[in-house]
């Protein structure tokens, strides 16, 4: 379970996020809707331990990650969180499998790589350089890297942002399929994808207030 209490974050004196409470139950999928700049990505980055809030607390299974060191947050991210970035964050000069095996630097077991790539229909691209893949294929590689370690939590920042709707919908279907039984939090501005998630949160309506999923 992920609990957010009274969290706020500012960038250059401009408030990016200011919430009181938010709770994400384990094993459920959530979609956060909202316009650009409403703090969706900032929220995900704070849950992932990439950013720290100015105030408030974020607990993951009872551990307040705002109170632990950056090293411990890094460890939590690599071991327990699968993060799918909006711009994929792939090394384009490397192959698909090398982009997944990069996790081995931190001792992550990537032996499921073939199985995961197969489930995402890109096993045949395994030894292709990422720069030679289409946007949809790159997105699947990013998903594969996020879920290969069987994380408890999957965070997806605009997973369909760079794709047309048809491809985006297919990717979301696959993502929700492979994320079954895990906590999935995806942010998007496309409300047509809501049907694939257990809960929908409209962030435009909750800044400064309380939201119960």
């Amino acid at each position: 379970m992920i609990c957010i209490k009274g969290v706020s974050k500012k960038f250059k004196n401009e408030t990016a996020i200011d919430y009181t409470d938010m709770t994400f139950e384990g094993g459920k999928s959530y979609i956060l809707l909202g316009a650009s700049g409403c703090g969706k990505s900032t929220l995900l980055n704070m849950i992932a331990g990439i950013l720290s809030p100015e105030k408030g607390e974020i607990t993951v299974d009872g551990v307040d990650i705002t109170k632990i060191t950056q090293k411990e947050r890094d460890l939590m991210r690599i071991k327990r969180i699968g993060y799918i970035f909006q711009d994929f964050k792939l090394i384009t000069e490397m192959t698909v499998i090398d982009n997944i095996n990069i996790l081995r630097l931190e001792g992550v077991d990537t032996s499921r790589a073939d199985e995961v790539l197969k489930s995402l229909d890109i096993l045949d691209k395994k030894n292709k350089r990422v720069k030679n893949l289409s946007g949809g294929e790159r997105q699947r590689v990013a998903i594969a890297r996020a879920i290969v370690k069987s994380p408890d939590i999957i965070l997806a920042d605009e997973p369909t942002g760079n794709l047309n709707f048809a491809i985006g919908e297919a990717v979301i279907k696959q993502l929700t399929e492979v994320a079954k039984g895990k906590t999935l939090i995806a942010v998007t501005h496309d409300d047509r994808l809501c049907k694939y998630f257990d809960y929908v949160i409209d962030m435009n309506e909750m800044t400064g207030g309380r939201y119960d999923a």
Partner: protein, 397 residues
């Protein structure tokens, strides 16, 4: 980690090739300059200590000493063999070794002398030339190797020191010297009488200038009982005029150590200039290596931030880049060492004309230090960069 480091290097081929070339140039030039200058100095000094003085025809002192000790250049001319007997009868003298250079065998110089000339050299096979016999030869190891000679083979020498028509009389190889990595490896040694016999045509008109060398030598290598006798003999023989077969010969006497000191003093100036140039090249390349490494790290910033975002710790990232640059440094210094040895092989013939045979397997301690230094220079900028990046880790802010 190593596997990933290699894969990561594979995607930055151009930058890595540039770094490798810079390191190879720096390390290769430094190592080569040091090795050649050291081997030349060592090689020249090693032969100089054998003799107290050298007596030969008047002319260039350096040419006389270099020709009779290192077989370089051409002999100044000849002096009567009777001087050898005169010296051997002198109780201040412990040895007086005749020396003549006249012929060649497939480009290798043929020296007429006695077995005493080779007393410091070990035989790899066979026996030493018998001073009471003729037409025997002891050949240097390189000569044997290049010409496929073995003990018992008969060789035919040619007129003059470097080229000319072949003599009819054969010389039997009785021994092969052990490899010395000196100019002795490239020379054929025979009795002085053999040279006289080769050039003795019973008074017939000869087409060759050196045909009337019977009873003469190019130099006499003398050892005395103590250094003061050497000085006395130098004074006695330097400028002395002798008559032989109605010809007049003016002698000169030189102290080889003094000549070598003069030669090495000139060589030291050249060595100094070479070292200064090497130091400049080295400094320039250190700057280039550092800049390329820093640029490489700068271009890697995106890749590093990507790794940080997916959860790879700064410690692992630092280790990855240090491993990468260590591999580059190690491979480059090994290539530099191999290139320097190949250059030694290529320079071999040129340096041999100075009387020194370069030993490609000879490694001096400073060469190792240069290579280690260059290796560290190739790794240190990365360590500094990674240290700075760890301090500026955006995720820690």
């Amino acid at each position: 980690m190593l596997k990933f480091a290699l894969k990561n290097m594979g995607i930055k081929k151009v930058q890595i090739i540039l770094i490798v070339i810079s390191i190879v140039i720096s390390a290769g030039v430094g190592v080569l300059a040091f090795n050649v200058s050291s081997q030349v100095s060592d090689g020249i000094e090693s032969n100089a200590g054998y003799y107290s003085l050298i007596i030969g025809p008047a002319g260039s002192k350096t040419q006389l000493a270099m020709n009779s000790m290192y077989f370089t250049d051409e002999p100044l001319g000849t002096i009567p063999y009777s001087v050898v007997n005169e010296l051997l009868a002198d109780n201040r003298v412990t040895s007086a070794i005749p020396y003549a250079m006249a012929d060649n065998y497939n480009g290798s110089r043929v020296i007429g002398t006695t077995s005493a000339f080779l007393k410091e050299k070990a035989l790899g096979s066979g026996n030493m030339i018998d001073d009471k016999s003729t037409c025997q030869a002891v050949v240097g190891s390189s000569v044997a190797k290049q010409n496929g000679l073995k003990v018992g083979d008969v060789i035919y020498t040619s007129h003059s020191a470097t080229e000319g028509s072949e003599h009819n009389k054969g010389i039997t190889v009785v021994g092969i010297l052990e490899e010395t990595f000196s100019v002795y490896d490239k020379v054929v040694f025979t009795q002085i009488q053999t040279l006289w016999e080769m050039h003795d045509h019973g008074g017939e008109e000869s087409e060759h200038e050196d045909e009337h060398m019977h009873g003469t030598v190019c130099a006499i290598l003398v050892n005395t009982k103590n250094p003061s006798y050497a000085m006395q003999l130098t004074n006695e023989y330097d400028g002395k005029v002798m008559e032989h077969d109605s010809e007049s010969f003016t002698l000169q006497a030189v102290e080889p150590m003094q000549i070598v000191r003069d030669v090495l003093s000139d060589a030291d100036d050249t060595k100094y200039i070479v070292f200064v140039l090497c130091a400049i090249i080295l400094i320039m390349n250190i700057i280039v290596i550092s800049i390329i490494t820093l640029l490489n790290m700068y271009h890697s910033a995106k890749e590093i931030s990507l790794m940080r975002l997916i959860g790879i710790s700064m410690k692992k990232i630092n280790l990855l880049y240090i491993i990468q640059n260590s591999i580059i440094g190690l491979v480059s210094t090994v290539i530099a060492f191999i290139v320097s040895r190949l250059c030694l092989v290529l320079m071999g013939d040129y340096v041999a004309s100075m009387g020194v045979v370069l030993n490609t397997s000879k490694v001096y301690l400073p060469e190792i230090l240069i290579l280690v230094g260059i290796f560290l220079i190739s790794v240190i900028p990365t360590v500094i960069c990674t240290f700075v990046m760890a301090k500026r880790d955006s995720l820690a802010e």
